[in-house]
Symmetry: D2
Subunit: 304 residues, 4 copies
């Protein structure tokens, strides 16, 4: 494991020189202004070490990576009851598609597409005010990461709200099918804030340690549940690019349009990577490439 | 590992007593006559041992499990060139759907749905007569299994041919998009015979050993390729039940409508299970349950 | 034409005795309470006469029949410019489907499905407050009908608003594609009120006279435009039952879930029918049957 | 009616000068070679006169216009029984789409899309050899037109057969759903020959006279049935451009990819037009424009 620092250094250098950096998401104005030059990677190993390269202490908008943590909270609170409202299958469609939602009567395919994540947030909002739930999500992240300096960027939240028509369409559609407990505005408003959480790559890798399944790390959830979150990240974590990520990287991961990806090497490590330029499926172009190289160099693929 | 025999015995006993055995596929007349009482399981470990329970030496129709082996042959012969004709993403739809094929202009989503498997067979048919290719597939299986007694059931092949309109529809549709090298009749005829291969659970587990990635086992393909076949089995191996299989079992697998499933525990074991009754997604009901229990008892899930 | 009274009398008697009256729409609570026993029919001929049968002076909720009149206002005000925002093709799908809207990037197929009607209302809302536009719609109807006693039922409007999630989903979705000028709440709120307009069959038949294209009747729009509204009613006026209505009746018509249908016999008559029970496509069961019999008895089909 | 000659002359001159002539279909090699310069129009009026302009005696491939006549034969022979196998609704999709066929389990939407026309041909093939049925279709056309010189172009039929994979895909798909009586090869082979019938514009207009519904013209079918064929031509005759044709022209019509359109002005005239260049929906670009101008000049729109 003494090589891990060297591996990360090499990857960091390669990514700095990479010519094709993807395209920064342009549909949330506050995110569209981020430069595609950023790159950061952090790896927390099962034995408690942390390795970094690049701007690993610069906070970025975790966006859909937050879905991993709200799912963990939901499974901890509701258990398998959650699965009456959302499925566990890859969608085969874009992250914000309504087509499948219509054919399948308001039950989203999985918790990592937007419709499914809205259902998860809606489920754990029950009995809380939005502000309280957002406080709980932040507490979960801070405890998992062992760091307090994790916050919501209000300007980003406001920017998402202003351009959030597609998520509101999904929420109203599910409400029409009786699959939303709260008013669409309320659930979406909470969701927009959750997506606007900012963390550094180091913090995100730390926060992901509970999914490694190693004995001496923070434990936020029963082992059976963390295993299943990893399974969902493998089959559904990269929208309609999940098969490709599994094929190239061989590890479960969850990406966000802010350019972050949280990747788990079960039993071995929690990995966070950030580079804002996205590929055609909406996943970080260099982030994917960097974890692919890490997986190859370390032999961490779960597939042999 | 001395417990593995005991674990299999227990699973065999549980499955014999299971009340809900699923429904035997009825659309291929020759298969519709099989009793739902059958059950067999075989496990070949990385250190060369084999454990069995049930009717592990009774041959059954491997059907779509054959797609794993034709994919291996295709990757060995064509390499990444194959991916210009077929994708690597879960489909989110039934195994024989034409909807996505139309929206995506004749390029099937992955090699494990029917359209994709037809493309794979069509690709390796190039330069061969159907009989020659079928001979090569059988030789691959025999060499991988280290057993010679593996054959095609001609009555089943004829039965598939007689009721194969949906596969012919897929083949003609791809031909219309220029994604078929041979006449649809020829490619489909070869495919129907490949699906009609019969193997016992023991033979199938043996034939799957090259996907374990262990040093002392038969090696049919470069390690990088076997890893990727496992990745595809994880995300796409159970049609529109792939997410569910990953969630419950946590191992890559490929099912067939004959009731067989080949499952790989990377670095550890190759597992074959057979029970003809299918669940709603067309995967073996008891087969899935049996490997779920095996994975739990052994801790073999790749997800921690 | 002296027989027309007798024809209507006979149809009225047949409808009173009809055993299968369809099902009253249940998704708007205020409408779900209406009895399926109601029946009314009114015919205004090109020469200025009016014939009625049944409860022709009982007001009912015109619902989507209002789309004919907002389209007339929109064409009068915007002309062909309207067609940059909405198409002119039958949809082949349910009246509130989102599938096509997604594949066609937020441009509804025609002005008579919900998404298209929302665009029309949104277009004529420009420069107005909702209250002003609703006033204009009522004025248009009153002038066309030559009757002042036409109003909005506020309880129905409130009921639609409370259960209007699917329309809000459509509106937000179009907003996401830049095809909505106003906030979804505002456009939908106006639309819910427009749907809650109440008229009697007699009033509705009178209001439809401008579409007959006869010289001595009220003229609300240039003849070329009324002809085209009739064409759209023929191909798109009954959602995914438009082909069936054309086949059986042979006249352009527009139905509403309140059980009303406005039908035009070009050059001859304007016909309104009302019976609250709906068929599987969401069109009045007895209303359709009644106009089918009227068309057969009079020979008014446009198809020979 | 003395002006009709002058109207046609003017339209012929305008079409000769039209700069945008559409694109000749390229997917049937034999048709791809036809020049886009051709134009012909013929009008047979209810009183027995015929007016022409352009190359009205040059035979062209009627392609899908043949569907009108096979539908007439099927309705004459099977009556309403036909509608258990094919629907009467516009499809809202391309002429050769498989999407709807899958969602609606092998029942085509209407007799004028390819799948529906295959069902019609399959239905009237019952009890006949393909050659016999093709003879019957030709006899029907010759009798309706009162002309004997109507034939099948065998080179075109062979060319369709060689590139007919999409139609074979549709046929196999329907066979899989039990909605085809004959082997797909047989039904498709007959259909390809039926599409390869050649007629001149004059002959086609003559053959369409039975749909006018006038007393002194050849009668091939009961009046109730001709009315309904006209209704289907109005709502479904131009594939996913049917709404647009109804909007612009206001008359029922059926187009073919050979560039022909048969249009009926009920009670007034049968119109045939031919110009090989197609618009985006696969309908004759100048043919549509020419009948639009004819309808405007004559006031023949059925919509007032």
């Amino acid at each position: 494991m003494s090589d891990l620092g060297a591996i990360l250094d090499r990857i960091g250098a390669e990514m700095a020189a990479a010519p094709d950096r993807g395209r920064v998401a342009d549909y949330i104005p506050e995110l569209a202004r981020i430069s595609d030059r950023h790159f950061a990677m952090a790896v927390c190993t099962a034995d408690g070490q942390t390795f970094i390269t690049g701007e690993a202490d610069t906070p970025f908008s975790i966006q859909s990576v937050s879905k991993v943590f709200t799912l963990a909270i939901a499974l901890g609170r509701l258990g398998d009851q959650l699965w009456t409202r959302v499925g566990r299958e890859p969608s085969g469609l874009a992250f914000n598609s309504m087509v499948q939602l219509e054919y399948e009567r308001g039950i989203p395919r999985n918790p990592f597409i937007n419709a499914g994540a809205l259902v998860v947030t809606d489920a754990i909002l029950a009995g809380h005010k939005p502000r309280e739930l957002l406080g709980e999500i932040l507490r979960f992240l801070r405890e998992a990461a062992g760091e307090d300096d994790i916050h919501i960027n209000k300007a980003v939240a406001a920017s998402e709200q202003a351009t959030g028509h597609r998520n509101l369409a999904l929420a109203h559609f599910m409400a029409a099918h009786g699959n939303l407990l709260h008013a669409p505005d309320l659930t979406c408003g909470t969701y927009f804030h959750q997506c606007a959480i900012e963390m550094s790559a180091r913090q995100l890798a730390l926060a992901g340690r509970f999914l490694i399944g190693a004995p001496d790390l923070p434990r936020m959830l029963a082992p059976g549940r963390t295993r299943r979150i990893n399974a969902l990240m493998m089959t559904c974590g990269h929208y309609d690019g999940s098969g490709e990520f599994a094929y190239r990287v061989g590890l479960p991961g969850k990406s966000g349009v802010g350019g972050g990806i949280l990747v788990i090497a079960p039993g071995r490590a929690s990995i966070a990577v950030w580079s804002p330029g996205l590929n055609a499926q909406g996943n970080s172009q260099l982030g994917t490439l960097a974890v692919e190289r890490l997986a190859r160099a370390t032999g961490w693929s779960v597939f042999g």
